[in-house]
Symmetry: C2
Subunit: 271 residues, 2 copies
Amino acid sequence: MTHVFDQSIALTPAAQPHLFQGATHPAYANMVGPFGGTTCAQLLQGALQHPQRLGDPVALTVNYAGPVADGTFELTAEPLRTNRSTQHWNLLLRQQGVACASGSAVFATRRSTWGAPESLPPADMPAADAVASAPHAGRPAWVRCYDMRFPDPSGEAFHHDSQEQAHSFTRMWIRDEPPRAVDFASLAALCDAFFPRIFVRRRRFTPIATVTLSTYFHIDATALAAIGSQHLLATARAHTFRDGYFDQTGLIWAPDGQLLASSHQVVYFKD
Amino acid sequence: MTHVFDQSIALTPAAQPHLFQGATHPAYANMVGPFGGTTCAQLLQGALQHPQRLGDPVALTVNYAGPVADGTFELTAEPLRTNRSTQHWNLLLRQQGVACASGSAVFATRRSTWGAPESLPPADMPAADAVASAPHAGRPAWVRCYDMRFPDPSGEAFHHDSQEQAHSFTRMWIRDEPPRAVDFASLAALCDAFFPRIFVRRRRFTPIATVTLSTYFHIDATALAAIGSQHLLATARAHTFRDGYFDQTGLIWAPDGQLLASSHQVVYFKD
Protein backbone atom coordinates (compact mmCIF):
# COMPACT_ATOMS: atom_id res chain seq x y z
CA MET A 1 0.00 0.00 0.00
CA THR A 2 1.56 3.28 -1.11
CA HIS A 3 1.80 5.97 1.61
CA VAL A 4 -0.56 8.88 1.00
CA PHE A 5 2.42 11.25 0.76
CA ASP A 6 3.93 9.19 -2.07
CA GLN A 7 0.56 9.23 -3.80
CA SER A 8 0.49 13.03 -3.51
CA ILE A 9 3.86 13.55 -5.21
CA ALA A 10 3.51 10.91 -7.95
CA LEU A 11 4.43 12.30 -11.37
CA THR A 12 3.96 10.76 -14.82
CA PRO A 13 6.30 11.63 -17.72
CA ALA A 14 4.51 13.56 -20.45
CA ALA A 15 5.21 13.78 -24.17
CA GLN A 16 7.90 16.50 -24.05
CA PRO A 17 11.24 16.22 -22.25
CA HIS A 18 11.29 17.68 -18.71
CA LEU A 19 7.47 17.71 -18.62
CA PHE A 20 5.45 15.64 -16.14
CA GLN A 21 1.86 15.37 -15.07
CA GLY A 22 0.65 15.31 -11.48
CA ALA A 23 -2.46 16.05 -9.49
CA THR A 24 -3.47 17.55 -6.18
CA HIS A 25 -4.45 14.97 -3.55
CA PRO A 26 -7.56 15.38 -1.37
CA ALA A 27 -5.65 14.19 1.71
CA TYR A 28 -3.47 17.32 1.46
CA ALA A 29 -6.25 19.82 0.82
CA ASN A 30 -5.95 23.16 2.60
CA MET A 31 -8.76 25.61 3.28
CA VAL A 32 -8.55 26.72 -0.35
CA GLY A 33 -6.50 24.60 -2.78
CA PRO A 34 -3.69 22.28 -1.69
CA PHE A 35 -1.29 22.56 1.27
CA GLY A 36 1.72 24.54 0.01
CA GLY A 37 4.13 21.96 1.40
CA THR A 38 2.77 19.44 -1.08
CA THR A 39 3.45 21.90 -3.89
CA CYS A 40 7.06 22.21 -2.66
CA ALA A 41 7.40 18.42 -2.53
CA GLN A 42 5.90 17.99 -6.00
CA LEU A 43 8.27 20.56 -7.52
CA LEU A 44 11.28 19.01 -5.79
CA GLN A 45 10.11 15.54 -6.85
CA GLY A 46 10.24 16.76 -10.45
CA ALA A 47 14.01 17.04 -10.09
CA LEU A 48 14.46 14.07 -7.71
CA GLN A 49 12.89 11.62 -10.19
CA HIS A 50 14.42 13.20 -13.30
CA PRO A 51 16.78 10.89 -15.22
CA GLN A 52 19.40 13.67 -15.42
CA ARG A 53 19.49 14.29 -11.66
CA LEU A 54 22.92 14.85 -10.08
CA GLY A 55 23.42 14.41 -6.33
CA ASP A 56 21.06 15.49 -3.57
CA PRO A 57 19.09 18.68 -3.02
CA VAL A 58 20.89 21.49 -1.21
CA ALA A 59 18.31 24.25 -1.76
CA LEU A 60 14.76 24.63 -3.03
CA THR A 61 12.90 27.88 -3.67
CA VAL A 62 9.18 27.92 -4.46
CA ASN A 63 7.27 31.04 -5.45
CA TYR A 64 3.51 30.77 -5.13
CA ALA A 65 2.42 32.77 -8.16
CA GLY A 66 -1.30 32.09 -7.93
CA PRO A 67 -3.88 29.64 -6.64
CA VAL A 68 -3.59 25.93 -7.49
CA ALA A 69 -7.01 24.45 -8.26
CA ASP A 70 -7.90 20.92 -7.20
CA GLY A 71 -7.08 18.55 -10.06
CA THR A 72 -4.27 17.83 -12.48
CA PHE A 73 -1.28 20.02 -13.31
CA GLU A 74 1.70 20.07 -15.65
CA LEU A 75 5.07 20.18 -13.96
CA THR A 76 8.29 21.19 -15.71
CA ALA A 77 11.62 20.22 -14.13
CA GLU A 78 14.54 21.22 -16.33
CA PRO A 79 18.23 21.28 -15.53
CA LEU A 80 19.41 24.82 -16.29
CA ARG A 81 23.09 24.07 -15.80
CA THR A 82 25.00 21.00 -14.65
CA ASN A 83 28.51 21.46 -13.28
CA ARG A 84 30.96 18.89 -11.96
CA SER A 85 29.37 18.66 -8.51
CA THR A 86 26.35 21.00 -8.66
CA GLN A 87 23.20 21.17 -10.72
CA HIS A 88 20.71 24.05 -11.06
CA TRP A 89 17.05 23.37 -11.81
CA ASN A 90 14.15 25.44 -13.12
CA LEU A 91 10.78 24.23 -11.83
CA LEU A 92 7.30 25.27 -12.89
CA LEU A 93 3.78 24.09 -12.07
CA ARG A 94 1.03 25.12 -14.49
CA GLN A 95 -2.68 24.53 -14.87
CA GLN A 96 -4.31 25.21 -18.24
CA GLY A 97 -1.09 26.88 -19.32
CA VAL A 98 -1.12 29.37 -16.41
CA ALA A 99 1.84 29.46 -13.99
CA CYS A 100 0.66 28.63 -10.47
CA ALA A 101 4.05 28.06 -8.83
CA SER A 102 7.60 28.53 -10.03
CA GLY A 103 10.73 27.33 -8.40
CA SER A 104 14.40 26.59 -8.54
CA ALA A 105 16.59 23.99 -6.90
CA VAL A 106 20.29 23.43 -6.40
CA PHE A 107 21.48 19.84 -6.19
CA ALA A 108 25.02 18.78 -5.30
CA THR A 109 27.16 15.78 -4.63
CA ARG A 110 28.32 16.29 -1.06
CA ARG A 111 31.63 15.19 0.44
CA SER A 112 32.70 14.69 4.02
CA THR A 113 34.46 17.83 5.31
CA TRP A 114 35.15 19.70 8.53
CA GLY A 115 31.83 20.64 10.01
CA ALA A 116 30.23 22.26 13.03
CA PRO A 117 26.68 22.71 14.21
CA GLU A 118 26.05 26.31 15.23
CA SER A 119 22.34 26.55 16.02
CA LEU A 120 21.25 23.97 18.53
CA PRO A 121 17.77 22.60 19.22
CA PRO A 122 16.00 23.76 22.41
CA ALA A 123 17.84 22.07 25.27
CA ASP A 124 14.81 21.53 27.47
CA MET A 125 12.42 20.06 24.90
CA PRO A 126 10.23 17.37 26.49
CA ALA A 127 10.38 13.97 24.76
CA ALA A 128 7.82 13.41 22.01
CA ASP A 129 6.19 10.65 24.07
CA ALA A 130 5.61 13.13 26.89
CA VAL A 131 3.57 15.55 24.75
CA ALA A 132 0.03 14.93 23.48
CA SER A 133 -0.72 14.99 19.76
CA ALA A 134 -2.52 18.15 18.68
CA PRO A 135 -6.16 17.63 17.67
CA HIS A 136 -7.13 17.42 14.00
CA ALA A 137 -10.78 18.32 14.42
CA GLY A 138 -11.80 21.54 12.71
CA ARG A 139 -8.44 21.85 10.90
CA PRO A 140 -7.84 21.60 7.15
CA ALA A 141 -7.42 18.08 5.74
CA TRP A 142 -3.62 18.26 5.37
CA VAL A 143 -3.16 18.68 9.12
CA ARG A 144 -4.38 15.07 9.52
CA CYS A 145 -1.34 13.98 7.46
CA TYR A 146 0.95 15.04 10.33
CA ASP A 147 1.33 14.17 13.96
CA MET A 148 2.25 17.46 15.68
CA ARG A 149 2.99 17.82 19.39
CA PHE A 150 3.23 21.27 20.98
CA PRO A 151 4.58 21.36 24.54
CA ASP A 152 3.89 25.11 24.99
CA PRO A 153 0.44 26.74 24.78
CA SER A 154 2.22 29.98 23.75
CA GLY A 155 3.48 28.23 20.61
CA GLU A 156 0.14 26.92 19.42
CA ALA A 157 -1.52 28.52 16.42
CA PHE A 158 -5.13 27.87 17.34
CA HIS A 159 -5.41 29.54 20.75
CA HIS A 160 -7.69 32.22 19.43
CA ASP A 161 -8.18 34.55 22.37
CA SER A 162 -6.84 37.59 20.43
CA GLN A 163 -4.38 38.35 23.26
CA GLU A 164 -1.37 39.42 21.19
CA GLN A 165 1.91 37.94 22.40
CA ALA A 166 5.37 39.55 22.24
CA HIS A 167 6.66 36.60 20.17
CA SER A 168 5.60 34.01 17.62
CA PHE A 169 7.98 31.24 18.67
CA THR A 170 6.86 27.62 18.40
CA ARG A 171 8.65 24.39 19.17
CA MET A 172 7.06 21.07 18.32
CA TRP A 173 7.56 17.44 17.48
CA ILE A 174 6.33 16.47 14.04
CA ARG A 175 6.25 13.45 11.74
CA ASP A 176 4.14 12.18 8.87
CA GLU A 177 0.88 10.48 9.87
CA PRO A 178 0.86 7.53 9.32
CA PRO A 179 4.61 7.31 10.04
CA ARG A 180 6.89 7.34 6.98
CA ALA A 181 10.71 7.44 6.82
CA VAL A 182 11.78 11.02 6.13
CA ASP A 183 13.35 11.80 2.75
CA PHE A 184 14.05 15.01 0.84
CA ALA A 185 10.54 15.29 -0.59
CA SER A 186 8.82 14.83 2.76
CA LEU A 187 11.32 17.17 4.43
CA ALA A 188 10.45 19.83 1.83
CA ALA A 189 6.78 19.46 2.72
CA LEU A 190 7.48 19.46 6.48
CA CYS A 191 9.24 22.81 6.09
CA ASP A 192 5.91 24.37 5.09
CA ALA A 193 3.94 22.66 7.87
CA PHE A 194 4.62 25.41 10.40
CA PHE A 195 1.39 27.30 10.97
CA PRO A 196 1.53 30.99 10.04
CA ARG A 197 3.44 32.92 12.68
CA ILE A 198 0.79 35.63 12.66
CA PHE A 199 -1.73 33.18 14.17
CA VAL A 200 0.68 32.58 17.06
CA ARG A 201 1.65 36.20 17.55
CA ARG A 202 -1.87 37.65 17.45
CA ARG A 203 -3.64 34.54 18.74
CA ARG A 204 -6.31 34.95 16.14
CA PHE A 205 -7.04 33.85 12.60
CA THR A 206 -6.00 36.12 9.71
CA PRO A 207 -6.29 35.33 6.00
CA ILE A 208 -2.75 34.59 4.75
CA ALA A 209 -0.91 33.24 1.71
CA THR A 210 2.75 32.29 1.40
CA VAL A 211 4.33 34.10 -1.55
CA THR A 212 7.82 32.56 -1.50
CA LEU A 213 9.68 29.88 0.44
CA SER A 214 13.30 28.70 0.38
CA THR A 215 14.40 25.50 2.07
CA TYR A 216 18.00 24.50 2.64
CA PHE A 217 18.93 20.85 3.21
CA HIS A 218 21.88 20.24 5.52
CA ILE A 219 22.25 16.46 5.29
CA ASP A 220 22.94 13.91 2.57
CA ALA A 221 20.64 11.06 1.52
CA THR A 222 22.49 8.39 3.50
CA ALA A 223 22.41 10.27 6.79
CA LEU A 224 18.81 11.30 6.18
CA ALA A 225 17.74 7.69 5.55
CA ALA A 226 19.15 6.75 8.96
CA ILE A 227 16.61 9.05 10.69
CA GLY A 228 13.65 6.88 9.70
CA SER A 229 10.15 7.74 10.84
CA GLN A 230 10.97 9.22 14.24
CA HIS A 231 9.37 12.46 15.37
CA LEU A 232 11.47 15.45 14.31
CA LEU A 233 12.07 18.50 16.46
CA ALA A 234 10.94 21.70 14.78
CA THR A 235 11.04 25.37 15.73
CA ALA A 236 9.68 28.47 14.02
CA ARG A 237 9.83 32.20 14.54
CA ALA A 238 9.34 35.46 12.63
CA HIS A 239 11.61 38.47 12.20
CA THR A 240 8.97 41.08 11.47
CA PHE A 241 5.32 41.73 10.51
CA ARG A 242 4.78 44.87 8.45
CA ASP A 243 2.61 46.35 5.70
CA GLY A 244 0.81 43.15 4.73
CA TYR A 245 3.77 40.76 4.84
CA PHE A 246 5.71 38.83 7.45
CA ASP A 247 8.58 36.36 7.28
CA GLN A 248 9.11 33.14 9.17
CA THR A 249 12.03 30.80 9.64
CA GLY A 250 11.60 27.12 10.47
CA LEU A 251 14.30 24.70 11.56
CA ILE A 252 13.95 20.91 11.61
CA TRP A 253 16.24 18.70 13.66
CA ALA A 254 16.59 14.97 14.11
CA PRO A 255 16.00 13.82 17.71
CA ASP A 256 19.79 13.52 18.13
CA GLY A 257 20.25 17.23 17.36
CA GLN A 258 21.40 17.08 13.72
CA LEU A 259 19.95 20.01 11.76
CA LEU A 260 18.17 18.50 8.76
CA ALA A 261 16.74 21.61 7.13
CA SER A 262 16.26 25.34 7.55
CA SER A 263 13.46 27.11 5.74
CA HIS A 264 12.52 30.75 5.24
CA GLN A 265 9.35 32.20 3.81
CA VAL A 266 7.44 35.41 3.21
CA VAL A 267 3.72 35.42 3.84
CA TYR A 268 1.04 37.87 2.78
CA PHE A 269 -1.56 38.72 5.41
CA LYS A 270 -4.80 40.59 5.05
CA ASP A 271 -5.05 42.88 8.08
CA MET B 1 28.73 62.27 -11.50
CA THR B 2 26.97 58.89 -11.32
CA HIS B 3 27.71 56.86 -8.19
CA VAL B 4 29.83 53.79 -8.91
CA PHE B 5 27.02 51.53 -7.68
CA ASP B 6 24.60 53.01 -10.22
CA GLN B 7 27.23 52.51 -12.91
CA SER B 8 27.52 48.84 -11.87
CA ILE B 9 23.79 48.10 -12.24
CA ALA B 10 23.16 50.09 -15.44
CA LEU B 11 21.22 48.07 -18.02
CA THR B 12 20.49 48.84 -21.65
CA PRO B 13 17.38 47.49 -23.42
CA ALA B 14 18.24 44.96 -26.12
CA ALA B 15 16.37 44.01 -29.28
CA GLN B 16 13.95 41.48 -27.74
CA PRO B 17 11.38 42.24 -25.05
CA HIS B 18 12.54 41.53 -21.47
CA LEU B 19 16.18 41.39 -22.60
CA PHE B 20 18.83 43.85 -21.40
CA GLN B 21 22.57 44.21 -21.63
CA GLY B 22 24.85 44.97 -18.73
CA ALA B 23 28.48 44.57 -17.74
CA THR B 24 30.57 43.74 -14.71
CA HIS B 25 32.25 46.76 -13.13
CA PRO B 26 35.90 46.69 -12.04
CA ALA B 27 35.07 48.56 -8.81
CA TYR B 28 33.02 45.53 -7.69
CA ALA B 29 35.53 42.86 -8.67
CA ASN B 30 35.93 39.97 -6.25
CA MET B 31 38.90 37.61 -6.02
CA VAL B 32 37.57 35.79 -9.09
CA GLY B 33 34.78 37.43 -11.09
CA PRO B 34 32.37 40.02 -9.66
CA PHE B 35 31.09 40.44 -6.10
CA GLY B 36 27.91 38.35 -5.87
CA GLY B 37 25.98 41.24 -4.34
CA THR B 38 26.37 43.16 -7.59
CA THR B 39 24.90 40.19 -9.46
CA CYS B 40 21.90 40.27 -7.09
CA ALA B 41 21.48 44.00 -7.63
CA GLN B 42 21.77 43.66 -11.41
CA LEU B 43 19.12 40.93 -11.52
CA LEU B 44 16.78 42.91 -9.28
CA GLN B 45 17.43 46.04 -11.34
CA GLY B 46 16.18 44.11 -14.37
CA ALA B 47 12.73 44.03 -12.75
CA LEU B 48 12.98 47.44 -11.04
CA GLN B 49 13.58 49.27 -14.32
CA HIS B 50 11.18 47.14 -16.37
CA PRO B 51 8.25 49.09 -17.85
CA GLN B 52 5.80 46.41 -16.62
CA ARG B 53 6.95 46.59 -12.99
CA LEU B 54 4.24 46.48 -10.32
CA GLY B 55 4.97 47.71 -6.76
CA ASP B 56 8.14 47.13 -4.77
CA PRO B 57 10.30 44.05 -4.25
CA VAL B 58 9.27 41.75 -1.41
CA ALA B 59 11.62 38.85 -2.20
CA LEU B 60 14.59 38.08 -4.44
CA THR B 61 16.25 34.71 -4.97
CA VAL B 62 19.51 34.39 -6.89
CA ASN B 63 21.10 31.06 -7.78
CA TYR B 64 24.75 31.27 -8.76
CA ALA B 65 24.88 28.65 -11.50
CA GLY B 66 28.44 29.23 -12.65
CA PRO B 67 31.21 31.80 -12.78
CA VAL B 68 30.53 35.27 -14.25
CA ALA B 69 33.46 36.43 -16.37
CA ASP B 70 34.53 40.08 -16.41
CA GLY B 71 32.74 41.84 -19.27
CA THR B 72 29.27 42.13 -20.72
CA PHE B 73 26.26 39.93 -20.08
CA GLU B 74 22.68 39.50 -21.24
CA LEU B 75 20.04 39.85 -18.58
CA THR B 76 16.47 38.61 -18.94
CA ALA B 77 13.79 40.01 -16.60
CA GLU B 78 10.37 38.68 -17.48
CA PRO B 79 7.14 38.90 -15.53
CA LEU B 80 5.90 35.34 -15.14
CA ARG B 81 2.55 36.31 -13.64
CA THR B 82 1.01 39.61 -12.59
CA ASN B 83 -1.84 39.55 -10.10
CA ARG B 84 -3.82 42.41 -8.60
CA SER B 85 -1.21 43.30 -5.98
CA THR B 86 1.67 40.88 -6.61
CA GLN B 87 4.00 40.19 -9.52
CA HIS B 88 6.33 37.21 -10.03
CA TRP B 89 9.53 37.60 -12.06
CA ASN B 90 11.92 35.21 -13.78
CA LEU B 91 15.47 36.53 -13.92
CA LEU B 92 18.46 35.18 -15.83
CA LEU B 93 22.02 36.37 -16.44
CA ARG B 94 23.86 34.79 -19.38
CA GLN B 95 27.23 35.15 -21.04
CA GLN B 96 27.70 33.73 -24.56
CA GLY B 97 24.36 31.98 -24.15
CA VAL B 98 25.42 30.15 -20.97
CA ALA B 99 23.41 30.66 -17.76
CA CYS B 100 25.64 32.17 -15.05
CA ALA B 101 22.94 33.18 -12.56
CA SER B 102 19.22 32.58 -12.42
CA GLY B 103 16.74 34.20 -10.14
CA SER B 104 13.21 35.04 -9.23
CA ALA B 105 11.58 37.98 -7.55
CA VAL B 106 8.23 38.77 -6.00
CA PHE B 107 7.04 42.35 -6.17
CA ALA B 108 3.96 43.70 -4.40
CA THR B 109 2.03 46.84 -3.70
CA ARG B 110 2.11 47.10 0.08
CA ARG B 111 -0.56 48.62 2.30
CA SER B 112 -0.41 49.87 5.84
CA THR B 113 -1.55 47.13 8.26
CA TRP B 114 -1.10 46.00 11.83
CA GLY B 115 2.57 45.26 12.33
CA ALA B 116 5.10 44.24 14.92
CA PRO B 117 8.86 43.93 14.95
CA GLU B 118 9.91 40.59 16.43
CA SER B 119 13.69 40.38 16.00
CA LEU B 120 15.43 43.39 17.45
CA PRO B 121 18.90 44.74 16.67
CA PRO B 122 21.65 44.20 19.28
CA ALA B 123 20.77 46.52 22.18
CA ASP B 124 24.35 47.39 23.11
CA MET B 125 25.71 48.20 19.65
CA PRO B 126 28.21 51.09 19.87
CA ALA B 127 27.37 54.07 17.62
CA ALA B 128 28.88 53.95 14.14
CA ASP B 129 31.00 57.02 14.94
CA ALA B 130 32.56 55.15 17.86
CA VAL B 131 33.87 52.28 15.71
CA ALA B 132 36.78 52.51 13.27
CA SER B 133 36.28 51.66 9.60
CA ALA B 134 37.72 48.27 8.67
CA PRO B 135 40.82 48.44 6.46
CA HIS B 136 40.55 47.86 2.71
CA ALA B 137 44.18 46.94 2.09
CA GLY B 138 44.69 43.41 0.85
CA ARG B 139 40.95 42.87 0.33
CA PRO B 140 39.14 42.36 -2.99
CA ALA B 141 38.18 45.54 -4.88
CA TRP B 142 34.46 45.41 -3.94
CA VAL B 143 35.26 45.79 -0.25
CA ARG B 144 36.41 49.35 -1.01
CA CYS B 145 32.84 50.11 -2.15
CA TYR B 146 31.63 49.72 1.45
CA ASP B 147 32.43 51.33 4.75
CA MET B 148 32.24 48.50 7.31
CA ARG B 149 32.76 48.95 11.05
CA PHE B 150 33.17 45.91 13.29
CA PRO B 151 33.04 46.59 17.04
CA ASP B 152 33.98 43.01 17.99
CA PRO B 153 37.22 41.25 17.02
CA SER B 154 35.32 37.93 17.32
CA GLY B 155 33.06 39.02 14.47
CA GLU B 156 35.79 39.95 12.02
CA ALA B 157 36.42 37.71 9.03
CA PHE B 158 40.12 38.41 8.57
CA HIS B 159 41.54 37.47 11.97
CA HIS B 160 43.36 34.48 10.56
CA ASP B 161 44.88 32.80 13.60
CA SER B 162 43.08 29.46 12.87
CA GLN B 163 41.70 29.39 16.44
CA GLU B 164 38.24 28.04 15.73
CA GLN B 165 35.46 29.85 17.60
CA ALA B 166 32.20 28.37 18.90
CA HIS B 167 30.20 30.87 16.81
CA SER B 168 30.29 32.84 13.59
CA PHE B 169 28.27 35.85 14.75
CA THR B 170 29.12 39.29 13.40
CA ARG B 171 27.57 42.67 14.03
CA MET B 172 28.67 45.68 12.05
CA TRP B 173 27.80 49.08 10.69
CA ILE B 174 27.82 49.28 6.92
CA ARG B 175 27.03 51.75 4.14
CA ASP B 176 28.06 52.34 0.55
CA GLU B 177 31.41 54.08 0.07
CA PRO B 178 31.15 56.85 -1.03
CA PRO B 179 27.82 57.35 0.79
CA ARG B 180 24.68 56.77 -1.29
CA ALA B 181 21.02 56.79 -0.18
CA VAL B 182 19.91 53.18 0.26
CA ASP B 183 17.35 51.77 -2.20
CA PHE B 184 16.18 48.26 -3.07
CA ALA B 185 19.04 47.57 -5.47
CA SER B 186 21.74 48.65 -3.03
CA LEU B 187 20.01 46.80 -0.20
CA ALA B 188 20.07 43.63 -2.34
CA ALA B 189 23.82 44.06 -2.78
CA LEU B 190 24.37 44.85 0.92
CA CYS B 191 22.71 41.55 1.82
CA ASP B 192 25.58 39.71 0.15
CA ALA B 193 28.28 41.88 1.72
CA PHE B 194 28.56 39.73 4.84
CA PHE B 195 31.85 37.89 4.71
CA PRO B 196 31.55 34.10 4.65
CA ARG B 197 30.67 32.82 8.11
CA ILE B 198 33.28 30.06 7.80
CA PHE B 199 36.06 32.70 7.85
CA VAL B 200 34.69 33.96 11.18
CA ARG B 201 34.05 30.55 12.69
CA ARG B 202 37.41 28.99 11.75
CA ARG B 203 39.39 32.21 11.72
CA ARG B 204 41.09 31.19 8.55
CA PHE B 205 40.59 31.50 4.82
CA THR B 206 38.74 28.75 2.95
CA PRO B 207 37.79 28.76 -0.74
CA ILE B 208 34.02 29.35 -0.88
CA ALA B 209 31.25 30.10 -3.37
CA THR B 210 27.65 31.09 -2.66
CA VAL B 211 25.26 28.78 -4.51
CA THR B 212 21.92 30.41 -3.64
CA LEU B 213 20.69 33.49 -1.80
CA SER B 214 17.22 34.76 -0.92
CA THR B 215 16.62 38.27 0.34
CA TYR B 216 13.36 39.50 1.83
CA PHE B 217 12.54 43.22 1.90
CA HIS B 218 10.47 44.39 4.87
CA ILE B 219 9.93 48.04 3.99
CA ASP B 220 8.30 50.01 1.18
CA ALA B 221 10.03 52.49 -1.12
CA THR B 222 8.84 55.59 0.77
CA ALA B 223 10.04 54.41 4.18
CA LEU B 224 13.28 53.15 2.64
CA ALA B 225 13.96 56.51 0.98
CA ALA B 226 13.71 58.19 4.41
CA ILE B 227 16.74 56.21 5.63
CA GLY B 228 19.15 58.02 3.31
CA SER B 229 22.86 57.28 3.41
CA GLN B 230 23.25 56.58 7.12
CA HIS B 231 25.23 53.58 8.32
CA LEU B 232 23.00 50.51 8.62
CA LEU B 233 23.24 47.99 11.43
CA ALA B 234 23.88 44.48 10.16
CA THR B 235 24.22 41.08 11.83
CA ALA B 236 25.05 37.66 10.44
CA ARG B 237 25.21 34.12 11.75
CA ALA B 238 25.17 30.51 10.49
CA HIS B 239 22.99 27.57 11.44
CA THR B 240 25.35 24.78 10.45
CA PHE B 241 28.50 23.81 8.52
CA ARG B 242 28.46 20.31 7.07
CA ASP B 243 29.67 18.22 4.14
CA GLY B 244 30.95 21.08 2.02
CA TYR B 245 28.11 23.55 2.58
CA PHE B 246 27.04 26.05 5.22
CA ASP B 247 24.19 28.52 5.48
CA GLN B 248 24.18 32.06 6.75
CA THR B 249 21.49 34.57 7.65
CA GLY B 250 22.04 38.32 7.51
CA LEU B 251 19.76 41.01 8.90
CA ILE B 252 19.98 44.70 8.06
CA TRP B 253 18.40 47.36 10.24
CA ALA B 254 18.09 51.13 10.02
CA PRO B 255 19.77 52.96 12.90
CA ASP B 256 16.31 53.48 14.47
CA GLY B 257 15.77 49.70 14.66
CA GLN B 258 13.48 49.14 11.64
CA LEU B 259 14.32 45.82 9.96
CA LEU B 260 14.98 46.62 6.30
CA ALA B 261 15.90 43.19 4.96
CA SER B 262 16.63 39.62 5.97
CA SER B 263 18.74 37.42 3.76
CA HIS B 264 19.60 33.74 3.73
CA GLN B 265 22.19 31.91 1.68
CA VAL B 266 23.91 28.57 1.17
CA VAL B 267 27.63 28.57 0.54
CA TYR B 268 29.91 25.84 -0.80
CA PHE B 269 33.26 25.46 0.96
CA LYS B 270 36.26 23.45 -0.05
CA ASP B 271 37.56 21.81 3.12
